[in-house]
């Protein structure tokens, strides 16, 4: 019988893991051997997020008045600047023509739409497998133990942009001045966008699974080999 806690205390997996019995290996020694192979690699270390998310931002499109103050609060109150590329909640790209953009000249949503509402794009805080985290060759996307938010560790990020290509909803942001990626980190449990919204359109609620929602774009299929190997530890 595998002692999960013993294994975890020796490995670099997140300690708040909630799943049991997923490991196929028969002994602790075998599991450790697999992990040690990975740990022995120098330089970049992949990081597979296993822990479940706790909270998420949900937004009501019929309440969005497209003031964009959520985007502004996100970067001004967190980063000290108004930075459209860095905004981690995304309004501007949908507010005129909806998520489909100008594919239809006269769209369904957005100010030009038949139904002139704006769909606010918020991070799904994906459960495992976390596309952005799995795509990161540096293991820069981690988990906040308090909120469960998936966040980019700027110290580790090298700005390669693979996370942006991996997110099915194009939710990754980028700080062009620091050359690092960023994403919604739920402001350590007190989201600025929620407070900035003049209609309470955005809510911070217990996590719901939004992974089945239509993708905004096709994902880039590339998964760094190291990350692929990580998956093999548990999934054979």
């Amino acid at each position: 019988m595998l002692d999960l806690k013993e294994l975890l205390s020796k490995a670099r997996l997140p300690l708040d893991i909630t799943r049991r019995g997923f490991l196929e290996v028969s002994t602790v020694a075998a599991a450790m051997a697999a992990m040690n192979t990975v740990k022995a690699q120098t330089g970049a270390q992949p990081y597979i997020i296993l822990s479940a998310p706790k909270g998420i931002l949900i937004a009501d499109p019929s309440l969005c008045v497209t003031c964009q103050r959520c985007e502004l609060a996100c970067t001004e109150f967190n980063d000290g600047k108004a930075d459209p590329k860095l905004a981690r909640i995304k309004i501007n790209r949908n507010m005129w023509y909806g998520p489909q953009g100008t594919a239809l000249v006269s769209p369904n949503n957005g100010a030009f739409g038949f139904d002139p509402i704006c769909i606010q794009d918020t991070c799904r805080q994906c459960d495992h497998p976390v596309p952005c985290a799995n795509a990161c060759p540096q293991g820069a996307i981690r988990v906040n133990p308090k909120t469960g938010a998936r966040y980019v560790d700027e110290e580790i990020c090298i700005g390669c942009g693979l996370c942006q290509k991996a997110c099915p909803w194009n939710m990754m942001s980028f700080d062009a001045e620091k050359n690092v990626a960023s994403k919604c980190f739920l402001c350590d449990g007190d989201p600025k966008c929620v407070k900035a919204c003049p209609t309470e359109a955005i809510r911070y609620v217990p996590w719901v699974d939004r992974s089945k929602e239509p993708n905004r774009s096709t994902q880039h299929g590339y998964l760094p080999q190291n990350n692929n190997d990580q998956c093999g530890i548990c999934h054979g």
């Binding site: 019929s62 008045v65 100010a111 509402i117 003049p198």
Partner: protein
């Protein structure tokens, strides 16, 4: 290492020459701050004062302010300074002011302003995407309405881009034409200037950061403090109806978000919350749709919209499928204020069918917007109706042309009348179409009607210099009258009327007046006016400064200034220095409220002396600052300064000018700044030209 971050300003603007195709960058002269002031300075330096609006030598200075693009409250405004086609007796420098998202995108693309000069050989549009500036062929878009033009340009550039376009009216050089941005946000009077340059529009996208100089926690606190100063639209600070959370109410207030009201066309409908005083519900305070169209609009209301970064949202989004089917228009309308309200002014018989006001607003606003026509604050409507009801059209048009126009539909309050005659104006068809598109005095001159016929008649609301009144004695007595003379078009100032129509009882207003301008006598109750005094004119100088300042910073003039606020615990006293605090926090440049007022007055003075050169005037009081006769009229012939009238007194108006000019350091007789005053405002550089042209000694 030097700090290359952009704090407020980006540090540079664009110069785009449509004749040569040359694009270059220009450093920002920060002493002028932004907006209209940058425009006036560029005009002083580069544009000969006698340039006409449609000359190739005319320029467009498109400038937001250092605050635009940030989360500074109500900072999404942009000014476009140019020679105005609708000014009279000659084209003079003026500014259009628009909201939407053009200002934010200009800043995010990396620019504080865009100078457009010259003339393209063929129809073009400009596409700016950060460093990349392209002048693109617009032949396939030329001729399209603004709605379709916007969508076509978005499709060729980016769905994120800010798009500003003209319609057929601007293309046809109709003076009464607009540019329109963000689907519904118009800049009045300047569509023809774009058209004269073969410029169909401008698309702008950008994603560069604007930094806040202040510490981010302090900035968050300041932004929230500024939000606390906000009331509802036009800074009304009391509820429309009695409400348990409000001390006062006023039937004129635009704070109409009340329990029991719904955004009825939302899916499913959204109830307006009880407590819209909360910052998290402040976008529910105002429904400009119901304010201008009446209670029935609530059932058609999808949501609110508005300018970038503003939490008030004064543009209603209205869904009316019945009107759409009846008149073959879009089921979705988005417009506000005059754009929504003034179409009914085409109908002198409206009172026979008052319930048709919504369909008229929908058909009229959509058509005016799509054709790119300007109403000039309702002047096009008033002119058309006066010419009709007083028999001028019948007398002056050929029988054939007169009979071709839909007068019966006008009489019958039929919205489809506009679908017949508005295109004639946009396409300059016939005598009616051609001259209705001209500014009022030009039309009257053509038809041999003395201007005084209009300016003595209250029905016209014509003021001077080609433009109508815009909040004058009906809102703020003498202050309003002198104010309406102070620019070359209608002043687009609301710092006075926001205050007088705040909804507060006069005793509260007088207390705020004492705190802000030094004495209670600075303000009277509307309709209970008293003779002019020094404090009223001191408040006028402040109104002028704050109007120009907001147009320099990129701040809205409908939601501010904020010398008063909804805080009953503080006797509704606000913070008249909030603009300075926000400016200092964003840019890192420390200025007080008085500093900025002086900067703004300096810019306004520059515009005034440039105008002197345009008019060859050494006596602005006589040549420019004229008031119409109708301000001295009352429907019941009540005397001035009696309760129940807004009638002015000629001697008192002249005394108002006397006091104002003296306070400003102008020659009292001529309304011209003295040399000492020009020097006091660091306008030494204007003195040689003014002296050379014999305009000052």
């Amino acid at each position: 290492m030097s700090d290359t971050k952009k704090y407020g300003w980006t540090g540079q603007g664009l110069r785009i020459n449509l004749s040569t195709g040359e694009v270059s960058t220009v450093p920002t002269d920060k002493q002028w701050i932004g907006g209209t002031a940058l425009g006036y300075k560029i005009f002083w330096d580069e544009v000969p004062p006698k340039t006409q609006a449609f000359d190739e030598a005319n320029k467009l200075v498109i400038a937001p302010g250092p605050l635009t693009g940030t989360g500074a409250v109500c900072s999404g405004r942009t000014s476009i300074t140019t020679m105005y086609p609708t000014t009279y007796p000659r084209h003079m420098v003026g500014s259009a002011h628009l909201g939407g998202d053009i200002g934010a995108k200009i800043k995010y693309a990396g620019y504080d302003f865009i100078i457009v000069e010259g003339k393209a050989k063929e129809p073009v549009y400009i596409y700016i995407n950060n460093d990349d500036v392209q002048i693109r062929n617009a032949g396939h878009i030329w001729g399209e309405g603004t709605r379709r033009s916007h969508e076509l340009i978005s499709q060729e550039t980016s769905p994120n881009a800010s798009v500003t376009v003209i319609g057929p009216a601007g293309e046809n050089l109709v003076p009464m034409s607009i540019v329109i941005n963000a689907k519904s946000h118009t800049g009045g009077g300047i569509g023809g200037v774009f058209g004269s340059k073969n410029l169909k529009g401008i698309a702008i996208d950008g994603d560069q950061a604007i930094h806040i100089a202040a510490d981010k926690e302090d900035w968050e606190k300041l932004v929230n403090r500024h939000k606390e100063l906000l009331g509802a639209l036009t800074q009304t600070v009391v509820s429309r109806y009695p409400h348990p959370l409000f001390e006062y109410h006023s039937l004129n207030s635009r704070w109409s978000g009340m329990p029991g009201k719904q955004w009825g066309a939302a899916n499913p409908p959204i109830n307006v919350p009880l407590d819209t005083r909360r910052l998290s519900k402040m976008a529910f305070r105002t429904n400009a749709g119901e304010f201008f169209l009446g209670d029935k609009e609530w059932g058609l209301h999808v949501r609110n919209n508005g300018c970038f970064a503003c939490p008030i949202r004064c543009y209603p989004v209205i869904k009316d499928v019945k009107t759409a089917a009846k008149f073959n228009v879009s089921p979705i309308t988005e417009q506000t204020c005059g754009g929504l309200l003034f179409p009914v002014f085409f109908y002198p018989n409206l009172k026979l069918h008052p319930e048709r006001n919504i369909e008229i607003a929908i058909v009229g606003s959509q058509l005016m917007d799509d054709l790119g026509l300007w109403c000039n604050y309702g002047q096009i409507q008033r002119d058309m109706v006066m010419m009709y009801t007083d028999g001028y059209w019948k007398k002056l048009l050929s029988k054939e042309e007169y009979d071709s126009l839909p007068w019966k539909k006008i009489d019958d309050v039929d919205a489809s009348a506009m679908q017949e005659f508005l295109p004639k104006i946009a396409y300059r068809q016939g005598e009616f179409g051609k001259w209705m598109g001209e500014t009022t005095p030009v039309m009257l001159e053509h038809f041999g009607i003395p201007l005084k016929t209009w300016s003595d008649d209250h029905r016209s609301l014509y003021w001077s210099n080609g433009h109508p009144k815009h909040h004058t004695n009906e809102d703020d007595a003498q202050l309003g009258c002198v104010l309406n003379c102070m620019w070359n078009r209608d002043p687009m100032a609301h710092a006075h009327v926001n205050f007088t129509r705040s909804g507060l009882p006069i005793k509260e207003m007088k207390h705020i007046a004492k705190v802000t301008w030094g004495d209670e006598s600075a303000v009277d109750q509307i309709g209970d006016y008293t003779p002019v005094n020094e404090y009223k004119m001191k408040r006028l100088a402040w109104v002028i400064a704050r109007t120009e300042l907001h147009n320099m910073l990129g701040l809205c003039s409908w939601m501010g200034p904020w010398e008063y606020c909804p805080d009953e615990k503080n006797q509704y006293v606000g913070d008249p220095n909030i603009e300075a605090k926000v400016f200092s926090a964003v840019t890192g440049v420390k200025k007080t409220g008085d500093d900025l007022d002086k900067d703004a007055t300096r810019a306004w003075l520059l515009q005034r002396v440039y105008t002197m050169r345009q008019l060859d005037s050494s006596n602005m009081r006589q040549d420019h600052d004229t008031v119409p006769g109708w301000i001295y009229w009352d429907p019941k012939d009540k005397k001035p300064f009696t309760k129940g009238t807004v009638r002015m007194d000629p001697a008192d108006i002249q005394k108002s000018f006397d006091i104002f000019f003296e306070q400003m350091g102008f020659n009292k007789q001529t309304g011209v700044p003295t040399v000492d005053t020009l020097k006091e405002y660091h306008l030494d550089f204007v003195i040689p030209a003014l002296q050379k042209e014999g305009l000052i000694k």
